[in-house]
C-alpha cells in the first residue's frame, strides 16, 4: 500500500480498525480528540461500535463490559483522563481482560497543561491503580511506529489476557507523517477466548471478576498474574540501539519523541567529533533491564544519561538496570516543554566537561 500523510492520532485510530477493533469508547480530551472524531465516522461505516461516554470513569468500565464479549475494544485519552480510568484498569487486570488503552500524554500533575510530556511513566509502568498488577506498555517514537505498535498492542492484549497501554506524548498524536498500513493484517495464532461471556448455552456459566474473598484464592490470582508478567519480561522486551559503537563515550537512554530528538543531537555531535550512543526502550514494561546493563558496563561508556520530558521518572528504572556499574545522570524538561536537539547537546557537553551534577 502507498504511503499516506496522516496525523498521529488519526493513524492510531486507523491502525486499531485494521487490527480488528470492534468497539471504541471515549471522552473528549486534548491532545487526542482527533481519534474520537475519526472513529465517530469510521466505526459506523464498518458496523462497529463508537460511543462517547459521560466520563473516563465510565469509559474504563464500558471497556470492561465490552472486552468481556471477547471482541477487541479500546480507548484513547490523555493524562487526566487516564487517571480516571485507573479504577477499571485495575479491575480488568484482575479479571484478565484484554483491552488496549492509548495515553497521548500531556503535562501534569493535576490539570497541568495540554502540551506534550512524558510524565505519566510511573503511572503507566508501575500499575497505576490499586493492587498487584502491571499493564504492558509500548512507546512509539514515530507515527509509523505508533501504527505498528497499535496493531501489536491488540495481539499482545489477547496473548496475555491483560490490558496493554500505548503511551505517546502529545507530539506523536499531533504530528503529521507519512505512514504505510500493511496490505492485509495477519498475526500469529492466539488461544481461543474460552473465558468470554457469550451466554451459558450447553455449558456452565462463566464469571468474569476480580473478586476473591478467600485470601488464598486472591493470592493465587496474583500469582497467575505475576507469572504472566514474568513471561512478558522474558518474551516482550523491545528496544532499539542507535549509533552504538566502541567510540561512544556516553550512553543515552530515551523513549518516544525524546529519543527522536536525541538522535538528531547524536548525529550533530558525531559530525563535531563526539561519539554518543542511544538505547531507546520501545516496551517500557517490560523494561529493557539487561540490555541497558550490558551497554552501560562496556568499558568505553563513562556515564549513562537519561533524557526525558519529565522530572526523571524513567531514570529510576535506568538506575535499577545500570546497577551502579556507571553513574546515571538526568537531562530533561517537563510541563509541556520539548527539549531541542541543541539543549540536549549542551547537556551532553556539560557532562563531558564534568559539569553535570550527580543525580538529577
Amino acid at each position: 500500500m502507498a504511503r499516506i500523510l496522516m496525523k498521529g492520532n488519526e493513524a492510531i485510530a486507523e491502525a486499531a480498525v485494521r487490527a480488528g477493533a470492534e468497539g471504541y469508547f471515549c471522552y473528549p480530551i486534548t491532545p487526542q480528540s482527533e481519534v474520537a472524531e475519526y472513529m465517530s465516522k469510521r466505526m459506523p461505516e464498518l458496523g462497529h461500535v463508537f460511543l462517547q461516554a459521560e466520563s473516563e470513569v465510565a469509559v474504563g468500565n464500558m471497556l470492561f463490559g465490552a472486552a468481556s464479549t471477547g471482541k477487541r475494544v479500546f480507548t484513547t485519552s490523555s493524562s487526566p483522563g487516564i487517571s480516571l480510568m485507573q479504577e477499571a484498569i485495575s479491575y480488568m487486570a484482575g479479571a484478565q481482560l484484554p483491552v488496549v488503552i492509548v495515553n497521548i500524554m500531556r503535562g501534569g500533575p493535576g490539570l497541568g497543561g495540554i502540551l506534550p510530556a512524558q510524565s505519566d511513566y510511573f503511572q503507566a509502568t508501575k500499575g497505576g491503580g490499586h493492587g498487584d498488577y502491571r499493564v504492558l506498555v509500548l512507546a512509539p517514537s514515530t507515527v509509523q511506529e505508533a501504527v505498528d505498535l497499535m496493531m501489536l498492542a491488540f495481539h499482545l492484549a489477547d496473548k496475555y489476557r491483560n490490558p496493554v497501554m500505548m503511551i505517546g506524548d502529545g507530539m506523536i498524536g499531533q504530528m503529521m507523517e507519512a505512514v504505510e498500513f500493511p496490505e492485509s493484517y495477519s498475526e500469529p495464532p492466539l488461544p481461543p477466548k474460552d473465558w468470554a461471556a457469550t451466554g451459558a448455552k450447553d455449558r456452565r456459566p462463566r464469571i468474569i471478576k476480580s473478586l476473591f474473598l478467600d485470601p488464598v484464592g486472591l493470592e493465587e490470582n496474583c500469582i497467575i498474574l505475576e507469572e504472566k508478567y514474568r513471561r512478558m519480561k522474558r518474551d516482550e522486551v523491545r528496544c532499539e540501539l542507535y549509533n552504538v559503537k566502541p567510540t561512544n563515550r556516553i550512553l543515552l537512554v530515551a523513549y518516544g519523541t525524546m529519543a527522536r530528538i536525541c538522535q538528531t543531537s547524536i548525529d550533530e555531535l558525531e559530525d563535531e567529533g563526539v561519539s554518543i550512543g542511544l538505547l531507546r526502550p520501545i516496551s517500557l514494561f517490560p523494561f529493557p533491564m539487561s540490555q541497558i546493563h550490558e551497554e552501560a558496563k562496556k568499558e568505553n561508556i563513562s556515564v549513562v544519561l537519561t533524557v526525558e520530558m519529565s522530572m526523571g521518572q524513567m531514570m529510576e528504572d535506568v538506575e535499577r538496570a545500570v546497577l551502579g556499574v556507571k553513574p546515571v545522570r538526568f537531562c530533561g524538561r517537563t510541563g509541556g516543554i520539548v527539549p531541542s536537539p541543541d539543549e540536549v547537546k549542551q547537556q551532553i557537553r556539560r557532562l563531558l566537561n564534568g559539569e553535570l551534577e550527580e543525580g538529577r
Partner: protein, 254 residues
C-alpha cells in the same frame, strides 16, 4: 408418587443450587427468584449476562445460572453499556443496591438511562448500606437511624432521600421505569409483572428498563423479619410510592 403427578413448583433453571448467604428476612432471595423465573419464562437464560454490583448482592453470580460479570462499585451500568453495545443480541441486566446505584453509581445510571441503553436494571432499595454494616445511604429515610447517622438522618445535614424512579422518569429518552415491593404475596406478583415487562421490552429491543424494588434489611434496621415487613409498608412506601413512572407506550400508572 403417581405417574400422572404434575410439577407445580420447582427451582427456576436460571437459579443455581448454591445456599444463600443473605440474612434471614432479607428479600434479596425473593427478587433473585423473580428475575430467574422471568429469564426462564422468556427463554433467554442461555443468552443472558448478568452484572453484579458491590454490596450485599456482590455474590449474585453464585446464584444465577447464567454468565456474569462483577463490576466496580456503581459501574454496572457502564459495563452493561459496553457489553450490550457489542452484543445487542444478548440479554443484559444489572442487579444493584441503593448505595451502589443511587450514590457512587449515580452518574452511570443516569447517562445509561438517558442514552436509552437497551439493558435492564434491577435496583434494590433497602434504604441502607448493607454489606459494610448499615451506614446511611442516599435513600435512608428522614430520621431513620443508621451507623453513620446514629441520631437519625438529619435532612438539614444530609438532604432528603433520593427518589431514583421519579428522577429517571424525567429523562426525555423513552424507557420503562417502575417501582415495586416484595413484602407480601400480592406485591411479589406485581413485582414479577413489572420485571417481566422490563425484560420483555429489552427482548424486543425497545428501551432502557429499570425496576426499583423496595426491599427489607432486618439486620441493619435492627428489626425482626416481621417488623421489617411492617416498617417497609408503613415507612418506606409513603415516601417511595409504587407504580410505573415511565413506559414507552405511555402506560404509566401510579
Amino acid at each position: 408418587m403417581a405417574d400422572d403427578a404434575v410439577t407445580i413448583f420447582k427451582r427456576p433453571v436460571s437459579l443455581t443450587e448454591t445456599v444463600t448467604h443473605y440474612c434471614p428476612g432479607c428479600t434479596h432471595g425473593v427478587i433473585h427468584r423473580i428475575v430467574a423465573e422471568v429469564l426462564d419464562e422468556l427463554g433467554v437464560r442461555d443468552r443472558t449476562v448478568g452484572i453484579a454490583p458491590v454490596g450485599c448482592s456482590v455474590l449474585a453470580y453464585n446464584y444465577f445460572n447464567c454468565d456474569f460479570l462483577e463490576a466496580a462499585h456503581g459501574r454496572a451500568p457502564a459495563l452493561a453499556t459496553g457489553f450490550k453495545r457489542l452484543r445487542p443480541d444478548m440479554i443484559v441486566f444489572t442487579y444493584q443496591g441503593d448505595g451502589d446505584l443511587a450514590s457512587i453509581g449515580m452518574g452511570e445510571i443516569v447517562h445509561a438511562a438517558n442514552r436509552g441503553e437497551k439493558f435492564t436494571t434491577i435496583f434494590v432499595n433497602n434504604a441502607v448500606y448493607g454489606m459494610t454494616g448499615g451506614q446511611m445511604a442516599p435513600t435512608t429515610l428522614p430520621m431513620q437511624i443508621t451507623t453513620t447517622c446514629p441520631f437519625g438522618r438529619d435532612v438539614a445535614h444530609a438532604g432528603y432521600p433520593v427518589r431514583i424512579a421519579e428522577m429517571l422518569a424525567t429523562v426525555a429518552t423513552p424507557g420503562y421505569i417502575a417501582r415495586v415491593a416484595v413484602h407480601t404475596p400480592m406485591h411479589i406478583i406485581r413485582a414479577k409483572h413489572a420485571i417481566r415487562q422490563a425484560f420483555t421490552y429489552q427482548k424486543e429491543g425497545r428501551c432502557f428498563s429499570l425496576v426499583e424494588v423496595l426491599s427489607t434489611c432486618p439486620t441493619n434496621w435492627g428489626q425482626t423479619p416481621g417488623e421489617a415487613i411492617d416498617w417497609l409498608h408503613s415507612q418506606m412506601m409513603p415516601y417511595y410510592p409504587l407504580g410505573c413512572f415511565k413506559d414507552p407506550d405511555g402506560k404509566e400508572s401510579r
